[in-house]
Subunit: 498 residues, 4 copies
């Protein structure tokens, strides 16, 4: 593979919140709008509202009826698209954009989406949230036929499949391409004729539609609709393809027939903003309900309920209200997270945790506390936070987790450490409690989690959600993974690009 050293600015792109190493990371957020005067300005605002879904890079492509325009940058939306000249480079009434967490495929702007190609039918732009689990398999075949890839992104496979399809219309070629693709995808595409939004047959990754006057908006989460001032219309259905022409006329297609949905349950636990609606439910209320379930399943005899901010706050409120134990801010989170500092050689044990989270010492000293966090991934941060509470004088620390143990990797667009790094894959709950040095540790049960999202319980024959990170039950084939694990069964030699 070629190492492209594009000379982009190494701007201080990780200044600001959230680069938390011990969390799972959603890899992308997407946003599209058609029918407003400054579509790119609206897209910038919408992507800013989705910034929590990807902080490493951002791109917007617009169309002014004649040409496509594209601008990409490393870092936050605000750092790249808040000035007037950036927006002025993106004229037109149709625009789509993408925020991205992953650095898969190496640094460089060429992997930043939307991807664009000049096809025989005209320009084609695509923004993708998810992960194609047979991308390497498909790429090998395409390259053998003469396709030249620009990026190392799995998304580019879709473009080449569209470009080489023999069907006459673009929509047919697009569906033809998707039939070959396996995995998770929510897509927003643009062509000279309009916008296409679609979701994979299982609806693993979210995608919603809104309206702003006559304009149509698509976004990963409803919070983006709120921020741009659009009204929520409905979710795109699993396996649905919605086409909007330049006059705003919509048509809905179900090229794969009707399928049973398996949306990602972790969106409710952590990825989505609490002020979004997901699957018809308030994410905030679901998280409070998970906290309430935890309080019922795993009570603690304590003086204070303390969230690990900010993601643990709603569950902690739910736990506090259900248990009657007062909710207090025992950990203060800095607004200025930024990069890791040089650790001074003297003093400052765990300075790197403390500069993000500091104990509210006067509050916790001498108290028995219940700490609430949304999940435990590697466990290293949890261990340090428990220690910080003890150093601040807490007499007992009971740790409660608002999700079941995270035992498996995700192959559908979430950045997970390899399985051997997951604490829950390495030890049982008792050992985990010892590892993080908590007086007690409990996770919400899988059925408790399903109850919080409104189900009676998990249907183990046909689970209502994708919960593979907890259960290991993956709802699709994982071709590329199988090829890696059984290389001798490959139809083609493994090329080094893979």
């Amino acid at each position: 593979m070629i190492s492209q050293n594009e000379d982009f600015d190494h701007a201080p792109w990780d200044v600001g919140g959230g680069s938390d190493d011990d969390k799972l990371h959603e890899e992308c957020g997407i946003f599209g709008v058609l029918g407003v005067r400054d579509a790119a300005a609206t897209a910038a605002l919408g992507l800013h509202a989705l910034q929590h879904r990807g902080q490493e890079a951002v791109g917007i492509t617009s169309f002014d009826g004649q040409e496509f325009y594209s601008r990409k940058g490393i870092g936050h939306v605000a750092a790249n698209f808040s000035n007037i000249s950036a927006i002025a480079e993106l004229p037109g009434t149709m625009a789509a954009g993408h925020v991205r967490y992953s650095t898969t495929g190496g640094a460089g702007l060429r992997n930043v989406q939307p991807l664009f190609a000049d096809l025989a039918s005209g320009g084609f732009a695509i923004a993708h949230n998810g992960n194609i689990s047979n991308a390497m398999f498909l790429k090998r075949d395409l390259v053998r036929k003469g396709a030249i890839f620009q990026s190392t992104s799995d998304t580019e496979v879709i473009i080449h499949l569209v470009a080489t399809s023999r069907y006459p219309t673009l929509l047919d070629r697009f569906v033809d391409a998707l039939r070959l693709v396996e995995g998770a995808y929510s897509l927003i595409c643009m062509t000279p004729l309009g916008m296409i939004a679609c979701r994979d047959p299982l609806g693993i990754r979210p995608l919603v539609m809104g309206k702003m006057g006559d304009a149509i908006v698509f976004a990963s989460e409803t919070v983006a609709l709120d921020v741009v001032g659009a009204d929520f219309v409905r979710e795109i259905e699993p396996g649905e393809l919605v086409q909007v022409d330049l006059d705003g006329n919509l048509s809905s297609h179900h090229p794969f027939g009707k399928t049973d949905a398996r949306p990602c349950i972790f969106e409710h636990v952590y990825f989505s903003r609490p002020d979004s609606l997901m699957g018809g439910r308030s994410v905030y209320q679901v998280r409070k309900e998970i906290g309430a379930q935890l309080a019922i399943e795993s009570p603690a005899d304590a003086d204070l309920v303390i969230p690990v901010p900010d993601s643990g706050v709603p569950a902690a409120l739910g736990y506090a209200q259900a248990s009657g134990i007062p909710f207090e801010l025992g950990i203060i989170r800095s607004h200025y997270v930024g990069r890791t500092f040089i650790q001074p050689s003297d003093g400052a044990r765990n300075a790197d945790v403390k500069r993000k989270h500091n104990a509210n010492r006067a509050l916790v000293a001498g108290k028995r506390i219940v700490l609430i966090d949304d999940s435990i991934v590697r466990g290293t941060t949890s261990m340090k936070i428990v220690q910080m509470m003890r150093d601040a004088g807490a007499s007992e620390v009971h740790f409660r987790v608002a999700s079941p143990p995270t035992e498996h990797s995700c192959f559908y667009g979430v950045d997970t450490p390899e399985r051997s790094k997951l604490l829950a894959a390495r030890m049982d709950v008792k050992a985990m409690a010892e590892f993080i040095h908590a007086d007690s540790l409990a996770f919400v049960s899988i059925d408790g989690l399903y109850r919080a999202v409104g189900e009676a319980q998990r249907n183990s024959a046909r689970p209502q959600y994708c919960d593979a990170c907890f259960s290991g039950e993956y709802p699709t084939r994982l071709t590329d993974l199988a090829d890696r694990e059984n290389p001798d069964q490959l139809s083609f030699p493994v090329d080094k690009v893979a």
Copy 2:
């Protein structure tokens, strides 16, 4: 005045939290350490913990026993001092630094502190939190005698007074200089002989001392001690000057005699981090107590208590606990504030508020809510937030403010709009309620505030705090202000530098 267009990078320095236009802003935080191996690394960490006191620029000066080294930058500590090469430029076991909000004096690194000068006695570095209220008066006199100013910072006056003092020792020259100075100052200075920390006779701005093994630490707030791993020793007393030599020997001086303290009460309301101790009290507990006082003084018949995040959270918890009304997160704050975006011409009413604060619509719809904020400055943001709650379906909005009405400007190092822009200087509470469109509005009383900080009530004969922003009673002379208002009484002509 010369306009220095130094070619610094206009990096995205306001990416990240907190550039909230409708708040008062503390202008500075200072930090010093003597006796650790990598003093600059410790200073960077300490300044990061004080970032909320000033986000626009940062500087650190170190001393390695032979030479002074200085590095300054525009923007956050993390953006300027987190990489190893930045710290490597600052060798030595003594270092002091400064974070700064104000752009007074124009852009450019020359106003970024610590300021440094090569005096006849050797190098002299100074970091200042506060404001000298007769700086222009003193500067005019110094310039007439041949002094050449490098910056437009009031702090530089102190250096020239030290440089031109006729006393034999540096300490005498320093005290000689401070005797001429009026206003608010907490200072950390470095000389080839060690560090000097001092606080003005009224102790208007905070300064604390800590210990980390044998090393001595000074900082604006105790949170910086926590983050670097130092133990809190005590506050520097009003009018006290603490000298530490390079071997760590301390001596305390009170060159101005004993004075009655008048520390800034707004530190408790908003400026300080909730996890700091200030005047022996937990800032978090004081804020909760203010909320409790508010609940007693100004109850509301409502379903939910909702903080304006993040500064309103402790008072809201106090109000909720005292009133029994549930505390809920009805407003979700984005972690990715950054710069102002281009407002799209269609849609998106008040997009600029929404991209920071979004209504948790599912929670507040149909509810009577109590909104808690720490203060009202111009009132523009409050108005938009009330509207956002109504748009989200709140049936009643009762606004409660955790400080008395802010009616007066601060001349002691806090960035306040001119008086005519302060909502409370323009109208009474009833009119303010109408202006922000709240169903009811109430501020905590001045005595309620004093009770929250542990006093029985405000001693109007000799107030225990500086509360000039509420009361208009300034505890010092304001020479420069008087000169500006009565220019004909000036001893010197007003020069254009002023």
Copy 3:
């Protein structure tokens, strides 16, 4: 077409010599080396020696036996490849590079060569000097079959033709591709098996081979061999393809049969460095000989022979020696050309010319002078220089040009203004003399030029050189040009990418 706003640094890339707006510009220089330890460092040095062939962008690709590495930049070789870290990014014993004048296809690094693609056979890099005159025709067909272009460079057509060829070996696929291509090309390609250098059947653009110990070097001009310390071996023949494997074994191929050469004669007039050998002759001596021909054909009764520096110097020496009139530096050229300055509104007539070329006033005052320049393109600079000589007191100005009138555009890789901008296409010599305000004006004859390169005269039946810019006789078909001029005869609709 998409407008790619890649965020490269707009560094002061045109600082330094040569961005002369009133000259023809060679569009590219290429260099390759195989068999040295730091191939990229050698390539950087070689490209620096070819910098006069293209100043706007530069790229180098290397191969270390396993992977290809690429680095591209806007501006000069020295600005992009002189630091050790740049070279360190390009390991390996084989490297090829490219300097580029043209901004055809829009700004952005994606058009900077070498272009690279991962083909089924492995990596493939290509550096091209010349222009493919049926590129649009071929591209339309490729896109219809599903090819996705990364750049707007004509060179990319070759890569796609190679990728989609059905021949089994890469060499066959490469020749298969070249058979479809018309126009001018000197190419250096790299594959995992070695390097391929080739020249179009007419040998329009130059390409030479050298040796440095066991290492093989290819370059546009011999000066690059001198600078890297290689010995000149021979020119690549027109229509020849030289293959070198990783062990340094050479093989020569003539896939198009033997053809009559038509090398570009303008290389001798202006493009090449005077210290290069071209077609077996010293460029410096040829230019002196052109000056001597001029002195014979168009003598002048004058006191001084003055070159327009630097390109007019050799011809002026030849003219002076042949005529016996002293050679003097009557115009001093600044070494610091850089960008155009803001023209002050007062004073400074023609400041933009003067900051490059200033009259040596004390020398020319009162003198009759012969000015020698290599060519006249638009005539605007010539006019200003004549005026500058008159302003400096020259009593007569006789202008002599070391090439025939430039009447036609070049379609073989030289940046020419459209024909209507060429002075010689708009008026006869007499009118040109008036336009530039010279007392007399003469161009060398076409036969005089052929004599200077060693021919008896131009063979009008079968010209020995490509002299289309003077004669209008293009030695190849110009398919794309014909398509543009007769769009109704196209086999495919003209797509907007073209």
Copy 4:
């Protein structure tokens, strides 16, 4: 001393001509203009014409009748002042600027001139060409009295002397300051009342005055007048101070009485542009005359006269014309000098010389050549160039130098290596010839040099020029040098700033 790490762009500032390590370097050029609409644009153009006098940094200060504006940058004028926004930052009809070679005092913009200070009398800007030879002595005294220095530039001493002078008018204070100063200085100053230009009593460094309509222009050389379109009026006399008020009224002062001039003779040899007039003579003609003197004093039996370009060209023409040996370009100079490249580990002997100067091999092979250069400093480059000629086949190489042996350091504003590095201080001419491997070597005699500038011979009792670099006879006291060499005789202790 403090190490100020100001965050300026490390732009590729040495791209472009002239950073020749084996030459003496003029340290500065200055330019001022009063009475034109866009004074800064004119100053930028004028400084560009003086770029050869200093390539490392540039600054311009302007005055619009109310305020002073300043902009400084690292690198070339074109890189810093060619865009419209840079000029727009510098409004007003009066401007002065400075180009600078030296990095004395460390990197950073604070040493870039013009220096500026707000004095009691108003703003004061100063641009200086030269060197103050008692600057350290004066600085120690000023610091003891309370002065705080902003830079490590010797020029700042003048500002502090003006600021602390007790005389009533600025002009008196300025003269009072200059009386204390020893060494070489040409100065352009700006105050709110107008511009002051002056030259030290010996007139060591040049300064000329021109007129452009009603506007007055001052510049180091006449070439800057040519380029901005001004007419040359006269040189500022040694010891003269010219004052121009804002209405353009001039007054001339000779505060030091009449003095015998000792202008720098090396300006004629190398520093000045050949198209400048210096001391009433054409620099080009003087250099040709030096070449002619050399031909008379040191003839050579040779086939070709070859200059080391570009500085050796005029002397080579003079040598050729006097000797009758043909002048030819046997060395081709690259226009693209830029930074030093990484030397490849294979091949390329002396690549660093070759990328600047390449042999015109076809010309010199088999020939006996006379090489002409302006001077020999360290001798390392001369040695490599002789070798390059031999490698190209020259049968004999006779080296002729257009100045006497450079045996002594300059303390008047020219960057010279320490004496022990000067080849002529280390060995006699015969040994030098062997060192550079020339068949013969000769320098012009000191009287030959004086003849070339129009004198009958050097007046050894009272030399007409400063020729200390050849003779060791310094025309002023060198107080700081004496203090360094005899530290026990100092009146004050040597502080570390020195």
